[in-house]
Structures are given as structure tokens and as C-alpha cells.
Subunit: 382 residues, 2 copies
């Protein structure tokens, strides 16, 4: 890199997973130069981004060196210690989202406190530090109680649905700080991705339905089928309100429960999100381009859909590591299917890619996405 001089603005992404990887195509188009902080040179994004630095994001000195020469710092994940982000900002670096906003995506108790304060619908919740606290919470809100790790959980990890005091003891035994939430009997899960720029422009993508299996998102339907337009508008308003009130800069994904009595916020993420992968082909501006534009404080792009229906299906690793030999069948079967492979070693259950189908008929589009996903994951002909 010694004799290399960037031409465009440099965006540093802490973390080198698939979200950083999928940020590279819009960066290439815009002439934005990406730098990533990876744990190892063969990580997903490190394979496709020239300016890859190797280091530990928990080390402030590593972050300081990484930030030198970057116009903006942003994140592939939410694990960077809040105090390190505060230090970088204090030292004059532009970091988006900033520490004050990001903490709401890092600490679920802080998030619940703030959302409750600004009137966003949340499940009943409480900080708990003992099994007795949980039992007291259950007496008020009923069983089951959902215990969540206050920090660090994802994809169903760090979440325990406890039906009784015995199951509470099991969860408490992990020793991680927990909070309690009332179990929400939801009809389905929805998500909305919004973007907000430092100068305050906001944009919302259409509300989608996310289909989960064992706590992992397997399918996203855009727009959420049959969703009442008023409820869709409410979900978008919730997203934009949270982004504004919390001072989010960049993307904000809001996971929602749709219940018989209305919408309830489940989780927040402040980065491109699995529920927005459909936008790569399905929206005029992909969530990855949108995030870059937002953190660079450029005007945001159109979130308009490119077709009536878009379905994204995640690829989870199976037993056979050779995904490529299965390209032949799915690409020949469906010339319109779009494949995304994250360049990660295939391991059972790991998110290794996704497929996207666009069209006008939901059943048809969904069947196409499923066909491709099933064959790529299992080799089965369906």
C-alpha cells in the first residue's frame, strides 16, 4: 500500500464480515475507498477489500491507528466498546453511528429505557440481577419470561425463553448480565430499515416480513404481504422516530413483532441488516449504498422497490462445503435468480450467503428463492 494514494473519501469499517463485504460493490461504484479492520486475512470482507488491516477491535490503540487517514469510521458489528468510540470521537474522528446512538444497539437495557421514554411500543421489561427478580417480574407479567443478555447476543444466541423458575436458574447460571422481557405472543415478525444522515435527512425502506427458524432469519418478504398500509406507515414512523431521537447516523434496522394489539419493537441494529439484503436487487438504492451515503453525509438515495415483490432467502451451511458445484443447477433452472456467497468456509448452520428473487407474484417469487436456497444448501432437487 506504500505508493498508493486514495482518490475518493476513505471509509473505515471496523469488522470484516459479510456486511463489510457487501459494502464494497457500492463503494466501487461511488469511488469510495473502503478500509476494514479484520481479525484474519481470509475473512469475508478481507478477501475483497485491498486496504485490510489486521487487529483487535477491543484495543483502542489498534482502533486509533486504523482511524488514521479515514474520513469516516463505521461498523460491521456492534461489539466495539462504547468508551473506545467515545475516545475516537474525542480525538476528532468522524464516527457514524456515534457512541451515544450506538449504545442503544449494544445495550438492550439502555435501549428499552430510551424507547420507553420516547413512547415507542416495547414489551414489558425489567433489569434483573437475581432469580428472585425474574420471579417477581413473572408474577407481574406472567410466564414465559424472556431473558436476554444485555450485551452481545445475536441470531438467537443470548436469549432464553423460560417457562418456569428452573429454566430461569439455568439461564442465570451463564453468569452474563441479563434483563427480563414479557413473552410477546406475536402473529409474525416485521422489520424496517431506515437511514439517517448527520445533517438529518431520513429515508425509510418498505416494511418487510422476516421468517425465522430456531431464532435465525431464513427468509425476508418485501413488502410484508398483506400488511395494512396504516400499520406499515406506523412501522416506518417508528423507525424514523427512533433514528431521529437517538441521533442515529447511518442505517437503523428495527425488528418488530406484529401482535393482535399492534406493533412492538423487538431489537435494534445500527448497520446494514439481514432484513435489508433484498435491497441489493430489490431497491433503487441498496442498504449498503445507503449506509455509505449516510455516514459520508451525502444526500440519501431512493428506497423505491425495483419490482412488486422481492424475496430473500438465507443460505445456511450444510454438510457439503462445495457450494459452487451446485451453482449450475440453480442458475440453469432460473435465469433471474441472484446468488450471494460471502466467501466464508461452509460450516453447518453458519450464514454463508443468500439468494434473491424479484417478480410480481409472491408465491412464485418465494418458490423461486426457496428452490435455489434448498438446492444450494442441501443439493436436493425439489
Amino acid at each position: 500500500m506504500s505508493d498508493y494514494r486514495p482518490i475518493g473519501p476513505v471509509v473505515g469499517i471496523v469488522g470484516a464480515g459479510q456486511l463489510a463485504r457487501m459494502s464494497q460493490p457500492p463503494a466501487i461504484a461511488l469511488g469510495v475507498e473502503l478500509r476494514v479492520l479484520a481479525n484474519a486475512p481470509d475473512e469475508s470482507a478481507a478477501r475483497v477489500i485491498v486496504d485490510t488491516r489486521i487487529g483487535d477491535y477491543r484495543d483502542l490503540d489498534v482502533l486509533r491507528e486504523f482511524a488514521q487517514g479515514c474520513d469516516v469510521i463505521t461498523f460491521d458489528h456492534e461489539h466495539v466498546p462504547t468508551e473506545h468510540i467515545e475516545a475516537l470521537i474525542a480525538e476528532g474522528h468522524a464516527v457514524h453511528p456515534g457512541a451515544a446512538a450506538l449504545v442503544h444497539a449494544q445495550d438492550k437495557a439502555v435501549m428499552r429505557e430510551r424507547l420507553s421514554a420516547i413512547g415507542v411500543p416495547c414489551p414489558a421489561w425489567a433489569r434483573v440481577s437475581s432469580a428472585a427478580d425474574v420471579t417477581a417480574f413473572a408474577e407481574q407479567n406472567g410466564w414465559p419470561v424472556v431473558l436476554k443478555a444485555v450485551r452481545g447476543g445475536y441470531d438467537g444466541r443470548g436469549v432464553w425463553v423460560c417457562r418456569d423458575a428452573a429454566e430461569v436458574e439455568e439461564a442465570m447460571a451463564t453468569g452474563v448480565p441479563l434483563m427480563a422481557e414479557a413473552f410477546v405472543p406475536f402473529e409474525r415478525e416485521l422489520a424496517v430499515v431506515v437511514a439517517r444522515s448527520p445533517h438529518g435527512q431520513g429515508v425509510s425502506y418498505p416494511v418487510v416480513e422476516t421468517v425465522q427458524q430456531d431464532g435465525i432469519c431464513v427468509e425476508v418478504l418485501a413488502p410484508a404481504p398483506g400488511l395494512d398500509p396504516e400499520q406499515a406507515a406506523q412501522a416506518q414512523r417508528i423507525g424514523l422516530t427512533i433514528a431521529h431521537e437517538l441521533g442515529v447516523t447511518g442505517l437503523l434496522a428495527v425488528e418488530l413483532f406484529q401482535t393482535s394489539s399492534g406493533l412492538v419493537v423487538n431489537e435494534l441494529a445500527m448497520r446494514p441488516h439481514n432484513s435489508g439484503h433484498w435491497t441489493i436487487e430489490g431497491a433503487r438504492t441498496s442498504q449498503f449504498e445507503q449506509h455509505l451515503r449516510a455516514v459520508l453525509d451525502l444526500p440519501l438515495g431512493s428506497p423505491t422497490m425495483t419490482s412488486q415483490v422481492v424475496v430473500m432467502a438465507n443460505l445456511l451451511g450444510g454438510d457439503d462445503p462445495d457450494l459452487f458445484k451446485r451453482y449450475e443447477h440453480v442458475l440453469a433452472h432460473d435465469p433471474g435468480i441472484k446468488l450471494h456467497f460471502y466467501g466464508k468456509e461452509v460450516r453447518p448452520g453458519r450464514k454463508i450467503g443468500h439468494v434473491t428473487a424479484v417478480g410480481s407474484n409472491l408465491d412464485e417469487v418465494r418458490a423461486r428463492a426457496r428452490h435455489a436456497a434448498v438446492h444450494l444448501m442441501t443439493g436436493e432437487y425439489t
Copy 2:
């Protein structure tokens, strides 16, 4: 790169210009690993492709080393000596397009001979080695005569439109091997991009109109406005026929003149082409993804348009090198405009990027593309 192990197939691209650069987004999606042979580490594609090798493509030993570990070799330009490509193929490398096909995009006389033999409409033409040859050609076909460098011309370079014997002398004085073509009084210029895979599948994109200024393409309108459907089908047939007859593997772009008496082939290129840049947003499968799929012998993708009208406008460098400060205005003015900057130093007249607009009304879409291109190039508010 020492401890790095590719997961996907490796495609080596000789050359590291904007075509190789724009191949990286679909490679990232498909999990295909690109390697480029660049002249310098700051070239357009070298900025965004990790596995960049520096070397001279005219040196067979450099090409041999470059090819080690690649599953397929392809090209960003047509300047690799034919005999080097033959050597690589003889040594067992998969090279697409192969030497026997590519020579038709390298040597205009070979191209004219072959196209005439298979009945594809061409202007009258002749090999010429003296001014007397040209004068004899003019006596038969009239003035002006178009003299073309048999090898190596592009973007209007290597082409001389001679109105008389004096202008012929000037062109001959350059000393490069020339051929003569009758001047074609065309109504407009069209282009068609087709793909052909080694196993023989063919796909054609819609026919487009290319608008030229001073021999450089400034605008592409997709589909070609008002083109008679039969003539459009004929152009696609010409493209697919040439690809089949010449054994092209990968993309083939055919530039055509539309005249009062029908279509005439002007030039061929065997790689992604400026007339196909609109496909990045405008077609379900971009030409760059299509080329990768074709050279890897994967089933080809749908060339269907994503909207009724797509306009691409090239960005030529102006006096002011700072393109980025002009992003603000064009992105705020039009949330749907798509910018592509090639990461090249801005120099007057150099192709440094392009913009794309999609929509349903040609005049509107064209005005949007022009607005963005004019402001990015000149800073003018129009």
C-alpha cells in the same frame, strides 16, 4: 497473500482498467475471486481487487506466472498478443475468449474477411498498403474513405476519415498498417451486447442507441428509441450469429450503423463494453456478471430490463479534478441517479465514470442522466 486460500473459482483478468473494476461487484456476489494483471498498483481495478499482480501483458513469462492458479483467464482489453494467448491455451489454461475468436476483435481486416464470409452486412472494405491502393478503393467506392489502423485503435483513435488523396497521405504517414472502408452515411449508431458460453448457450441484451461526440460514446439509450422490432431482432441475430460462428466465449459487443438501407456492422469487442454499462442497474443480469458466468461456463443470466427506459451518460474528465465535491448537488437533485466513478485521476477528456438513470419516459430519464453528467463534469448548474 501468503496464507490466503481462495474459496471460490479464480478468474484472472489481464488488464486493470474500469472493466475489470466493474467486474468486482458481481464477483463479490457470486463468490468468484478475481485476480488482475495491472501496469501499476493505483490503476482503476487494482484499487478494488486484492489479488493484483503488476506486470507487462506483452511478456509471455509474466502471463504464464499470472495464469498459475487461475481457473479461467479473460481480458479487460484486446491488446494481448494473439500468439501469447495461443501459448497459454496450448499449455492447458482455459482462456476465454480464445485466441481464434479474439483475433477478430484485435485485427479489423481479419474481422472484415470473416464477417463477409459468413454473410454479415459490412461496409465495402479492402486491405491497403499504399496511397495508390486507397485511391483505387476510392475510385470504386467514392470519397470519403475511412482508413483504420488494423490493430490497436479505440475511442476514435486509429481512425481517419479522408476526403481526398492529400488526407490519405497524412494518415499513411503514421506508418501503422491500415485498411480502407467505405464511409457509411448512417442515421444513427446502435450496439448489441451478447454473451456466449463455452457449452454454446447464447443470450442477447436489448439493442441500444449509442450517441457519439468526436468519436467517443457520450450516451447510451436502452432500448434504442423507436427501433423497428424486426430490425432489433435482426441486430440480435447478427450478434448471436457472430458469437456462434467465431466461437466467442464471454461477451461480444457489436457496434452497428443504422442506414436507410439497413444495418451494417462497424466494430466488434469481446469483453464488457461501454454500450453495456447501463445493464448494471438496467438489466436483471449486468454485463459484468454475464461475462463472469460465460467464461466460467455457468448458465447465463436473464438480460431482461428492470425498467422501460435506461440512459447511461459517460463522464469525461474536465479541468477540475475534484469530482466528489459535486456529488452533493447531483445526489440531492435526483435520489434515483446512480453514479459510477472509476477511481482514475481526472484528466481532460478521459473516461472517468458514468451515470445511469432508469424510468419510463425517455425524455425525462435522458434529462436526468444529462443533468448529473454535466454537473459532475463541469460543475455547471443546469
